[in-house]
């Protein structure tokens, strides 16, 4: 009989673990998330950087130091196999004061210890050749060419699609309420939609990993949220070619200036520690956004006028007690593996974390993993009208005219793209139609007009394809319905 593995949390970490475990014949893998779609927790809002691995002190944070560089190397393979949008553009950690060079030397040393290739300190002259728009105050920088950027939610979606294609079962809108442990062994999880049996339980619950761990009786750590806020600007505003970091402080890597993979200038994040009970507080604040603005201006003086912002957002990083990733099979409860406190560089480390977990299952739980004879490493990216040649559009239109019809004007998203997104949502088990699910797959609603033209059209398509009345279509899951009924609902007094 197969060993049942339940993974709590379909973020970048849980999804990566599911993908790696889907390689094994003798495992039956279940991926559980309370959200209606995958990647909607910590993975949804971050700086989207594949870090270089020089930042984490191997004495203080051995897990982070080891897994970041390994994750970076693995992403090179994963983005190709899974067709994840990405760019390998490198990063500059900029020195603005003479003292900063001391810190850059520390980072360089650390990078050498962590095994990061290709790093070097560049002088002012070379720095401006690399990045001419940088502040004239810059004195030099640490150049880390192996840094990249990906679309974090597209990455989670791609990984889950591939995992499901390889036999992983998803349980979305499934909230874990209890963990059944008998005789010191994991038996399964109680959820809002019934009991899910499991021999191995992997806690990848992000901000909630401490609460999940406590359900298994393991309470040596706590997670508190650290908020970061961001600005994204309209297309066509010049941004840097590389990822620009200031010289870091003990609490944060600092406010980044970058051109994100869709070509928009993005600045952020700041770092604000919130109390443990504020795990849903992703509200932006005036103070936080101002802090980001001032911080970004130090590196990139020509910030656009404020009217050129198309979106501001905030994300939360899960900060664990001790600061290092907590990745281990807990001895008190056989079969319970914590993958907790996956703060930055969690996105980068995710593939390495997944292999680490597979190793833990073999080494610490003594389970020999048997590879499948046929495992499919590939996943095809969704069709994006904006990325197609006109000839290719015309080929697609012959099969389905919807590929010729534009729904989102700003980002050139066709009805065909959206229908494909909905098909893929259904494939991984998305039950509640939401505009955000379509947005994260197609980029519709993320352009200059922020969806005021296309949202009503997307609602119609979602309502039709999911067979629900249009007002029950949600923005981002239950409780965020876009309307209250048909136009006469209030007049009728229902």
């Amino acid at each position: 009989m197969k060993i049942r593995v339940a993974i709590i949390g379909a973020g970048i970490t849980g999804a990566s673990i599911a993908r790696v475990l889907s390689k094994y014949e003798n495992l039956e893998v279940h991926l559980i998330d309370k959200n209606p779609d995958v990647g909607w927790g910590v993975s949804k809002a971050n700086t989207a950087i594949i870090h270089g691995g020089y930042d984490d002190d191997p004495d203080k944070y051995p897990m982070r130091a080891k897994l970041c560089i390994r994750g970076n190397r693995l992403w090179h393979q994963w983005v190709k196999e899974l067709e994840i949008p990405h760019v390998w553009n490198g990063a500059l950690i900029v020195a603005l004061k003479d003292e900063d060079f001391k810190e850059l030397e520390v980072l360089l040393e650390r990078g050498i210890r962590n095994g990061v290739p290709e790093m070097r300190i560049v002088d002012r002259d070379e720095l401006f050749r690399l990045e001419p728009g940088l502040t004239r105050e810059a004195l030099g920088a640490l150049w880390v060419p192996i840094v990249g950027q990906i679309g974090p939610i597209p990455a989670v979606i791609a990984i889950v699609e591939n995992a499901v294609a390889n036999g992983v079962k998803t349980h979305l809108e499934t909230e874990v309420r209890g963990i059944k442990v008998e005789n010191g062994e994991v038996k399964g999880v109680e959820t809002n939609s019934g009991f899910i049996e499991a021999d191995i339980l992997i806690n990848a619950a992000g901000l909630y990993a401490d609460e999940i761990s406590r359900m298994a009786g393991i309470d040596y750590f706590e997670i508190h949220p650290r908020k970061g806020e961001y600005w994204i600007f309209d297309e066509g505003i010049p941004g840097p070619k590389r990822v620009l970091f200031p010289t870091p402080t003990p609490i944060s890597k600092g406010i980044v200036v970058t051109t994100e993979i869709s070509g928009h200038l993005m600045i952020g994040p700041n770092a604000q520690d919130l109390p443990p009970e504020e795990k849903e507080n992703t509200a932006t604040t005036r103070e936080g956004l101002e802090e980001v603005w001032e911080g970004a201006k130090k590196l990139w003086p020509q910030l656009p006028p404020r009217s050129k912002v198309i979106r501001t957002f905030a994300g939360l990083r899960p900060e664990p007690t001790g600061g290092d990733f907590i990745i281990k099979a807990e001895e008190e409860v056989w079969g319970f593996i914590n993958v907790a406190g996956i703060r930055s560089p969690g996105l980068t480390s995710a593939p390495a974390i997944a292999y680490e977990v597979a190793e833990i299952i073999q080494r610490d739980l003594g389970i020999e993993l048997v590879e499948k004879k046929k495992w499919n490493p590939y996943r095809r990216e969704i069709t994006h009208f904006f990325a197609l040649s006109y000839e290719k559009v015309n080929e697609l239109v012959k099969k389905n005219p919807a590929y010729g019809k534009i729904v989102c004007r700003c980002n050139k998203v066709s009805e065909g793209d959206i229908l494909e997104a909905i098909e893929r949502m259904k494939f991984i088990g998305v039950k509640t139609p939401s505009i955000d699910s379509v947005k994260f797959r197609t980029k519709a609603t993320t352009g200059t007009c922020q969806g005021s033209f296309c949202r009503p059209r997307i609602i119609q398509i979602l309502a039709r394809e999911y067979g629900v009345p249009p007002w029950e279509v949600t923005l981002k899951g239950k409780g965020s319905e876009i309307g209250i009924g048909d136009v006469k609902v209030l007049v009728r007094g229902e």
Partner: protein, 410 residues
């Protein structure tokens, strides 16, 4: 080869196509919606057509009248223009996609009438939660009047512009409670007839206030408002919250000019639309612009009028192989003039000037000092576009420029 490809099937585009056809030109009209009319089909209130059709119509009626005159015009809906290629002054291509695929058509001229977009919550600096229930005013109009969806029941509207006010009435008529209209400026932003709506439905208007924050879990729950001083700076301690499930943003329109800027059309930052001559021709020869893509209008009648002007320009262009060179007279913004169009006058024809003032004033004179023209007006408001005719003989009195300014009478 088409004589004219019209981009946009709203009132400006349809009027342009109809006039171009009457002038004997071969016309293709493109629109990316499934239906013609632009925003008119969702504007189910009256107030349209008093100047153009000499009777009061609703939006759909106005659109229907125009549609009935389109015989002889090749029309394509669900057709989105991807690219304009300005090969030379005499030869252009329009690349568009539709359920029939991508097509590239050659044309002598283009009339660009792609309308405007609405400013959204992020552009006006609102922070807080990104939840359901935040819409632009036009979006709620589409939801309600095209698709029959009621967005919410307790509404706060940002901006007292026409679309916001009209939607305040619409929400009220459907049984929703409009809890407040919040206006940044010390005066209302809409046409006088629309400001009456607030009285009719007993809706509070907060002048010199702004919405700064929205909070909620899945859906809008409460909205933070703050008072501003005469320099639009927030006054500390004046914050208050309004409970509501819906926030409607009616904070102004911005001309859609992206396809034009891609081919180098010069934009006037004050209108947000292209710099044009009195034929409504842009800085790229043979490309004309009309309607809200030119400047934000408050009456559809003027939008349709601009469409016709552009069509006449296209004919002159085709007949002469370009608009003849001349010493153009510049129209220049003077005191209390925020924006105006057209920017260059030939002096060969009468011209309608469209303009907006910076601030409201009573008992004023609109002056064109170089040609000695003066018009007295009892009241002017930024919300109401000034439309003034300059006659050929007046324009020809000027040497190289005509200034327009609005000053106190006496």
């Amino acid at each position: 080869m088409y004589d004219v490809v019209v981009v946009g099937g709203g009132p400006a585009g349809m009027a342009a196509a109809i006039r171009a056809k009457e002038l004997g030109l071969k016309v293709l009209l493109l629109d990316d919606n499934d239906y013609l009319g632009g925003v008119l089909p969702q504007c189910i209130h009256p107030g349209f057509g008093i100047h153009y059709f000499k009777e009061e119509l609703t939006g759909p009626e106005f659109a229907y009248r125009l549609m009935n005159k389109l015989d002889g015009v090749e029309v394509k809906t669900s057709a989105r223009v991807l690219e304009i290629i300005n090969y030379s002054d005499l030869e252009k291509f329009v690349v568009f996609t539709s359920p029939q695929g991508v097509q590239k058509v050659p044309t002598k001229t283009i009339i660009y009438a792609a309308g405007a977009r609405e400013r959204h919550a992020f552009e006006i600096g609102i922070v807080g939660d990104r939840v359901a229930g935040i819409y632009t005013a036009g979006e709620t109009q589409t939801l309600m009047d095209i698709y029959g969806i009621m967005p919410g029941k307790e509404i706060v509207i940002v901006g007292s512009g026409d679309v916001g006010l009209i939607m305040a009435r619409r929400f009220s008529l459907e049984g929703a409670k409009v809890k407040a209209v919040i206006e940044l400026m010390p005066y209302p932003g809409g046409l006088a007839r629309n400001i009456m709506i607030l009285k009719d439905f007993n809706i509070p208007l907060y002048l010199s206030h702004k919405v700064v924050e929205v909070r909620g879990k899945g859906r809008v729950e409460k909205i933070k408002v703050v008072k501003v001083d005469e320099n639009l700076r927030e006054i500390p301690g004046t914050e208050f919250w309004i409970e509501a499930d819906t926030l409607v943003i009616s904070a102004g329109l911005i001309p859609n000019v992206k396809l034009l800027t891609e081919i180098g059309v010069a934009i006037d930052p004050s209108t947000g639309g292209p710099i044009v001559n009195d034929r409504l021709e842009t800085s790229v020869p043979g490309i004309f612009v009309a309607g809200n893509a030119l400047l934000i209008n408050d009456l559809v009648d003027y939008v349709a009028e601009q469409g016709e002007l552009a069509a006449e320009g296209a004919r002159e262009f085709i007949e002469n192989g370009g608009i003849p060179s001349r010493r153009w007279i510049r129209l220049v913004k003077g005191e209390n003039v925020r924006l105006l169009a057209p920017h260059y006058l030939s002096g060969e024809r009468d011209v309608w000037i469209y303009a907006r003032v910076r601030r409201p004033m009573e008992d004023v004179v609109v002056e064109f000092p170089e040609i000695g023209k003066k018009i007295k007006l009892p009241v002017i408001k930024p919300a109401e576009m000034l439309r003034i005719k300059l006659k050929t003989e007046e324009i020809s009195k000027a040497e190289d420029k005509i200034t327009m300014r609005v000053v106190k009478h006496g």
